[in-house]
């Protein structure tokens, strides 16, 4: 009897706290980028979008941001799968179950500063290598932060994401009863390699796909880590948007909103894919 009421109520709550602010924000950003709102805007114009797409800056930024998220997530998934498959019960209890949570306690900016201090040319690692005689001068230490290969950013992002994926796979390992499948495979004559690559990894990857996409979106928006550890160019999409929104030229602000709109649509597309995938999963 109360079902219709509950449905409307649930939808209203969702609308009020999630969709409404999001849509209002997106609407405002779109309006700003087309010159419809904003103190310095003078009415509808396509100029801001034209300027933005007149150079390759924004395309490169989208590709670069996606590449960073992809690289750090791939490494992270690889390590966490290896760890969970090698020690499936280690994270149930004991010291490891606590240690794995540690990086989760680091806010991004703290982790970024830590990695900067640790990996920079005059940082802790460089000094250690110098003291141990591995390098003859501190300046001989290779570029690991603000570097062309983005080692600093990818290491930090991996460090921050690793616990999430280890915990995710450890719990999926239990929930999907992988141990039972493995036993069954062994009984049917499968080798250990076959069991891992044909059963365990495909099941874990398939089940975690929506989480991977959502985490990918989360990584696309990271700001502090690429700002501190990245190069001045290319910039990630959030660094580019903030620079346009907050630097010296107020006339760049509409372009900053346009970048934000591009980012929002990118996220919406990915979310759509993630929900499609998760829906299919549970339909199986």
């Amino acid at each position: 009897m109360f079902k219709p009421f509950n449905k409307t109520f649930n939808f209203s709550i969702l609308l009020l706290f999630t969709l409404l602010p999001l849509l209002a924000g997106l609407g405002y950003a779109i309006a700003y980028s087309f010159g419809l709102v904003g103190v310095l805007n003078k009415g509808f114009t396509l100029e801001n979008w034209k300027i933005l797409f007149s150079t390759s800056e924004v395309y490169i930024s989208v590709l670069y941001t996606s590449w960073l998220a992809f690289a750090s997530l791939s490494i992270c998934i690889f390590i966490s799968l290896a760890v969970v498959l090698a020690f499936p019960t280690k994270f149930k209890s004991g010291i490891f179950s606590y240690l794995v949570y540690m990086p989760l306690a680091f806010p991004s900016i703290v982790a970024a500063f830590f990695f900067f201090q640790f990996l920079s040319n005059a940082g802790i690692l460089a000094r250690l290598c110098y003291q141990l005689g591995i390098i003859s001068q501190i300046s001989d230490f290779p570029n690991l932060v603000n570097d062309s290969y983005h080692i600093g950013i990818i290491s930090t992002q991996t460090f921050l994401s690793l616990p999430f994926f280890i915990l995710l796979y450890a719990s999926l390992y239990q929930a999907e009863k992988l141990e039972d499948y493995q036993k069954l495979a062994y009984a049917l004559g499968a080798s250990k390699k076959q069991t891992i690559f044909k059963i365990s990894i495909p099941i874990l990857l398939k089940r975690s796909l929506p989480s991977i996409i959502i985490y990918f979106i989360f990584k696309l928006g990271s700001y502090e880590v690429p700002l501190l550890l990245g190069k001045s160019s290319p910039e990630t999409i959030s660094v580019l948007a903030v620079r346009k929104l907050q630097k010296f030229n107020l006339l760049d602000i509409p372009q900053g909103y346009a970048v934000a709109v591009i980012y929002a649509f990118l996220v919406l597309i990915l979310l759509f894919i993630a929900f499609k995938k998760s829906k299919h999963q549970y339909e199986v």
Binding site: L19, L23, Y32, G230, F248
Partner: protein
């Protein structure tokens, strides 16, 4: 299915609604001139028992201590005003006021702001400041408003829309133990970079862009050439020479010029750790403070670039929609007083140069100012004053910042 369609229609209406609503925002800029007709006593009386919200940069520990331990208790005791400090600088201040303006808020969250140059230019662009108000301040009698370093903020006449609070001068910092002959001209730097690759970089912030402007002034043959309003022709004539100078030398910069640090804080840290040979500052007391805090080596030394030391003044402004303008006026007046200025100039506090005209001070304040501890490691106020040059127009900074990205950073 019908429900789903309904939801989509509803969401579409909400979306369109939010856009229309945003378009309708009131962008009016209300100025309360009636405030200026009151006597100073009336203003002080109205300010009593109120709270003043002061948005300022909070990145300097000693400056924070000066505010927390001296200014806040003094204004409470003397004027009954509770001074609340909130963090914000430059673009954050502009964004905060702009957002309030776009939202049509008649009363904002901030009563006074600490600003200079760029921020003043931006706030004037959006008519975000209240004023003119400096004539109303009794302590304005100690200020020489005709002094070009006070009268013009980045070549823009302040016209009473901001009150000076501190003077700053752009200096280079180096370690005399590592750098025996300190380079000053662009030619000197070119030779130094070639002999010591990897020891120099330019931060992508206010300090870095000021360095670029110093070189632009040097290329132009002196500040006279770039004095006054922004001149596109002159910029187009001199800027390419600057980018050529940097591009042909950037291979000798930190990380071979493939990247530049986001802020001068990082540059200072790298100077302290020995990774870089040069850092930059706007405060003549920066070296004394850095050495005391253990950040800089004791052999650190200040120097001025060949073009001169770009001088600028930082100011206090009142947002157009400040809810407590009377309170802000009383606090600003106190901060301009010889007493507060001398306290602030102490190198154990904020440091920096006071804004008063020494000749206008009563004897007791002159003596008190002379009794302050002198700078030990940096350059003296007099030595820097001799080489002081005016800031260029804000548009030079905007162009230099944008072009440095396209002409240097994004060029292989």
């Amino acid at each position: 299915m019908i429900n789903r369609k309904k939801n989509i229609i509803l969401l579409s209406f909400l979306f369109i609604g939010s856009v229309i609503n945003a378009c309708k925002q009131n962008q009016s800029n209300t100025q309360q001139d009636s405030l200026m007709t009151q006597s100073w006593e009336e203003i002080e009386q109205k300010a009593k028992g109120t709270t003043v919200v002061f948005m300022k940069y909070l990145g300097d520990k000693k400056a924070n201590k000066h505010i927390d331990e001296y200014v806040v208790p003094t204004v409470l005791k003397r004027y009954g005003i509770t001074l609340k400090i909130i963090p914000g600088q430059g673009n954050e201040i502009v964004n905060s006021i702009m957002t309030e303006q776009e939202a049509g808020l008649a009363e904002g969250q901030t009563d006074m702001v600490w600003i200079n140059g760029e921020t003043f230019y931006q706030l004037q662009q959006i008519k975000g400041l209240y004023g003119p108000f400096t004539d109303k301040l009794p302590n304005s009698k100690y200020i020489n408003y005709e002094d070009p370093i006070i009268k013009y903020d980045f070549q823009q006449a302040i016209n009473g829309y901001e009150a000076p609070w501190g003077k700053a001068s752009f200096i280079g910092i180096t370690d005399s133990a590592r750098v025996k002959n300190i380079p000053q001209s662009m030619q000197d730097f070119e030779a130094y970079w070639k002999a010591h690759p990897g020891k120099f970089t330019i931060p992508l912030d206010f300090s870095g862009y000021t360095l670029l402007k110093s070189w632009l002034v040097e290329i132009a043959g002196g500040i006279k050439e770039l004095d006054g309003d922004f001149n596109q022709e002159k910029y187009d004539k001199y800027a390419p020479q600057l980018w050529d100078f940097i591009n042909r030398n950037k291979k000798y910069f930190w990380k071979s010029g493939s990247t530049f640090p986001a802020s001068n804080v990082t540059v200072s840290q790298m100077f302290g750790s020995g990774e870089l040979d040069f850092a930059f500052s706007f405060g003549i007391t920066a070296i004394d403070k850095g050495i005391k805090e253990g950040l800089f080596p004791a052999t650190s030394k200040a120097f001025v670039f060949k073009a001169g030391s770009i001088h600028n003044t930082s100011y206090l402004g009142i947002p157009y929609n400040a809810p407590n303008k009377e309170g802000a006026l009383v606090v600003i007046n106190f901060l301009l007083s010889p007493e507060a200025q001398i306290e602030k100039s102490d190198i154990n506090n904020s440091g920096g140069m006071p804004v008063f005209d020494y000749q206008k001070l009563e004897k007791q304040w002159q003596d008190q100012y002379q009794a302050l501890p002198k700078i030990k490691y940096g350059m003296s106020e007099e030595a820097i004053q001799e080489k002081a040059i005016k800031e260029t127009h804000s548009q030079y900074m905007i162009n230099v910042a944008a072009d440095f990205r396209t002409q240097v950073i994004e060029k292989p």
